[in-house]
Amino acid sequence: MLTGPATPVGQLLSELWQRRALLVVLAKKDFYVRYRRTSLGVLWAVGLPVLQAIVLTVVFSHVVRADRLAGHHISYPVFLYAGLVPWTFVASVLPGASTAIVDNLGLVTRVYFPRLLTVLLVVLSGLVPLATGVVILLGLTATLGPGLHLEVLWLVPGTLLVVALVAGFGAALSALHVYSRDVRYVVQAVMTVGFYVTPVIYPLQAAPHGLRTALALVPSAGPVELFRAGTVGADQGWHLAVAASVGWAVAVGAWGLWLQSRRDRVFVDLL
């Protein structure tokens, strides 16, 4: 039973759990709707990441020789793809997650469920391309890269970390977005910069010494480093990047949860 304007964190989480069926049904709906009118259907969800991997491999092994950037001993396409998989997840999911409450106006203004569910919905829909990316990455590592070793298990915490980061930032940003619609554009701007300050196309050690620590503190650096550690081998100073990302995920996630809990049932008034 709902009484006050706030939904206590515990109650918020338990209501989310009770409404998990809604989350799944809506995520499935979005997924099917996206591919319904296409003749290849769901193949697109797999096809696009595969195409991206092929283009990368061809361009960076035959057209541009960028091997020096990553170090001579590793394959640059694999190195690059390892960074792109988590980054693409962030770049494609976070903008949608930060506007999720407002975007689901029709649903949110007519039926009550914890508003955080809309954020999780966006995150959930991003999992299929992420999983596809991980599978392709494993294939690339096995063929063009150093092969699959026990280190590949780093991909598990890497995947969890990137999902937690995006969910945490999404929870906080979507709450802020209700109050200030600037958030949408701020996030877009940050994403543009984010691609370059996250060590996606270069390893951490390629940056000038003074910048290295700063770059390691970028929230999205940790998952990228874990993906590297699981495939082509970690960059120097990757521990700091991972620790920083975990810190960001916990801190921003907790703040986001607090915002969601405090404002859960008054967001509607501002939509």
């Binding site: 099917y32 709707v33 619609r181 049932r265």
Partner: protein, 393 residues
Amino acid sequence: MSRPVIELQQVGKQYTKYDDTALVGGRLRVRARSRTSLFDAVRALDLEVEQGASLGVLGRNGAGKSTLLQMLCGVTAPTTGRVAVRGRVAPLISVGVGFHPELTGRENVYVNGTVLGMSRNEIDRRFDAIVDFSEIEAFIDTPVKFYSSGMFVRLGFSVAVAAEPDVLLVDEVLAVGDFAFQMKCFRRMEEIRAQGSTIVVVSHNVTAIRGLCDRGIVLQRGSKVFDGAVNDAVSAYYASVGEPSDDEQADEQRGAALEGFELLGPDGQPTAHLRTGDAAVFRLRVRALREVAEPVVGLSVSSESGSLVYSESNLDAPFRPLAAGESATYELPFTVRLATGGFTATSALHELTGPETVARLTPSNPLSFYVAGRPLVSGTHDLSGSGLREIRP
């Protein structure tokens, strides 16, 4: 004695109107410092509704009806006081929430059912009943974008009432669908009520409220001004609608003051309630604030849906001139040839300014009334007093 299903204690809902706040320094500013204004959508509302009761909520636009409904289904929280609703709430405001045009009827039933809080199992069990009720078996596997709006609403309604809610909240949706389906919805709601559910209907549609509810409350500017039997509530509603709103009262610059616009029933007393066939009178009383050379009275009646039912004026033959400060009374006697429903009449004093042009001198002051007509007559007019008959050779 069981606890009431719906319990509101001193519930108030205040909205803050913000000028868009900018994101400054990444901080969430809940209140921008100066440029906000507050308004109360609902004030100090106490309400208890017992299980199995049916409550109609009446009030003009902006009276707080939608806010009340939103608080009852938990979408928004009250600013002050406490709202408690026990059991599963099915908001009929959300007919077709989550419906996606690309999905088939079948898929949408599952999405919409889940949105309304049903488990997959429950939907499976009720699926046939839902489809059966909606009368669209043939199209259940067609994407709903090919549905007519009537089919869309029928399917949405069928899902909502299949949820077997403890509390059914009904908004204006009943206006949709054809007559036969509306009747079916009414019957279904009666059934739901008979099973012990509680129904709350929020509508301008007085006919629907009278048909469905035993009890009615009237909201006016966020406060409850009446609570009682539904027929009394309807009368109180029409009385309250007739009251001039603030901006109309303030108008002093017009050239004539409105002293009264009334509807008199067969007994000669002011009323808001007529029956088809009654002899009634509209009476307009005005006082000229300056000299009015050629006074003209205009009077019109509109239906609940806002369409013009009747209008008349004496543009071709103005009344006698009025001196400054002089009062005058004008009447229009008529026989009620209207069918069941709510109507609004307006009348104002004008001055002829050219061959075909007039300037309005008094504020327009709408007066609402309700007509109880013959059963089985629908529409706005009752053309025949004597009814249908067969001609024998």
